[in-house]
């Protein structure tokens, strides 16, 4: 892992439109990283103390299936947030995260961000609202995947 030249944090879609003073504070506990492909960011069951905002590359969320090894549940890419377990108890990763391509991302210190949110309810509300939006969108996409829309025949014939 290396520290890469960082674009402004304000440009990341997850934080777009957030108050500058809040972004400035988040910036204090953020570093910009560049990691190669197959770099494991976190392991299922580990302490969730970080979060990543992807600038470039691809990250797979996986789950260890006994006898089958890690199975990819979902992949995330440019503009996505990786990890929300750091925000909610028990602060433990439910899935693993590994890069599938060389990846550049903002890495936020989850504990420090949580402390900021506790101390500043406006920041806490704003960050939680944005994170819940991410969760809702992923939930909606997962529900659609459950429908198996491609498996259903269209018009008869």
């Amino acid at each position: 892992m290396s520290t890469a030249n960082s674009p402004p944090l304000t440009q990341h879609p997850f934080l777009r439109g957030m108050a500058e003073e809040h972004i400035a504070r988040l910036n204090q506990v953020t570093r910009y990283i560049a990691v190669p492909a197959k770099y494991r960011l976190f392991d299922e069951g580990g302490t969730a103390d970080r979060c990543w905002l992807i600038e470039a590359g691809q990250v797979a969320l996986d789950l260890h299936v006994p006898g089958d090894g890690p199975v990819i549940i979902e992949t995330l890419g440019r503009g996505d947030v990786v990890g929300w377990s750091w925000l909610f108890p028990p602060f433990e990763w439910l899935l693993g995260g590994v890069t599938m391509q060389p990846t550049q991302a903002f890495e936020l210190d989850g504990r420090a961000v949580r402390a900021m949110c506790e101390a500043d309810s406006v920041l806490g509300h704003e960050l939680t609202r944005r994170m819940v939006t991410v969760v809702v969108r992923r939930l909606q996409a997962t529900r659609i995947r459950l429908l198996d829309v491609y498996g259903r025949p269209g018009a008869p014939g």
Partner: protein
């Protein structure tokens, strides 16, 4: 019977299996050929003695046709089994087209789900053939699994010719190095200018609705999103009424319509 209802005989010249249940047939005319097909239009394919089905055109050559067929019933099963030399009845082309040229000077965003990539393939061919006339050319395609992807052999060709190609499959997978997730999730990550882009969307209706909403959230106007509707088209000439969708007869007024027109109709459960 009007002339447009009489099929011309075409001979299958090649059969390209795409997946376990989908095949692309290349055909050439034996009689007077049907009119020139535009990307997005469909023909009625007649398997003599079995029946007739509407199938979108997936490749347009000089006098030749390529049509991609997925097995969903008796006629498509017979088409799937057709090999070189078999004679198929073809009439058409019917319906509205994608209007690819109207995207001149703009980014072209193609969003395909499953076999929905078939009618979009001519859009990619047309845009890539006149790349200097368009901005970015982006293909976002989704499928049930890697084994269900069609035109796989062409993805790298399209990439080499300058298209951004991203593919997503639905189920968790081992040994797959693309995206895992629903195709609409690729829309957020794709690089294009929403204020100056035209989107072409085809796939299962749910997939089109979800994708259109994601495109609108990215900033593309509803009038700049085009969908290919699917209904039970039988006559192809706006006579029988089987393909009615509210005020539209899809065989005549579609299959290609803007999301601006389709959105209120797709929201009516009875339609």
């Amino acid at each position: 019977m009007t002339k447009s209802m009489v099929p011309s005989r075409y001979r299958v010249t090649a059969r390209h299996p795409e997946t376990r249940d989908t095949v692309t047939l290349a055909m050439e005319p034996m009689d007077e050929p049907i009119g020139t097909c535009q990307p997005g239009q469909f023909t009625m394919l007649y398997v003599f003695g079995v029946g007739e089905v509407p199938i979108s055109v997936s490749g347009i050559g000089t006098g030749t046709l390529a049509q991609t067929v997925r097995v969903v019933g008796a006629v498509t099963r017979a088409l799937h089994a057709a090999g070189p030399g078999q004679v198929i009845g073809v009439r058409g082309p019917y319906g509205t087209d994608w209007g690819v040229q109207s995207a001149t000077g703009r980014d072209v965003v193609v969003v395909a789900g499953g076999i929905g990539l078939a009618p979009l393939r001519p859009v990619l061919h047309a845009a890539l053939a006149a790349q200097e006339s368009y901005g970015r050319i982006v293909l976002l395609a989704g499928a049930r699994s890697a084994a269900d992807l069609i035109f796989v052999r062409e993805f790298d060709v399209w990439r080499r010719r300058g298209a951004d190609v991203d593919i997503a499959i639905d189920p968790p997978a081992r040994g797959w190095h693309g995206h895992v997730g629903f195709v609409s999730q690729l829309i957020d990550r794709a690089v294009f200018d929403p204020a100056n882009a035209t989107a072409f969307v085809c796939g299962p209706e749910i997939m089109m609705r979800v994708s259109a909403k994601a495109l609108i959230e990215r900033g593309i106007a509803a009038r700049d999103i085009r969908l290919s509707l699917e209904r039970d088209m039988r006559c192809g000439v706006a006579t029988c009424g089987h393909c009615q969708l509210g005020p539209l007869l899809v065989c005549r007024d579609g299959p290609i319509v803007t999301y601006e027109l389709a959105a209120p109709l797709l929201a009516v459960k009875e339609l």
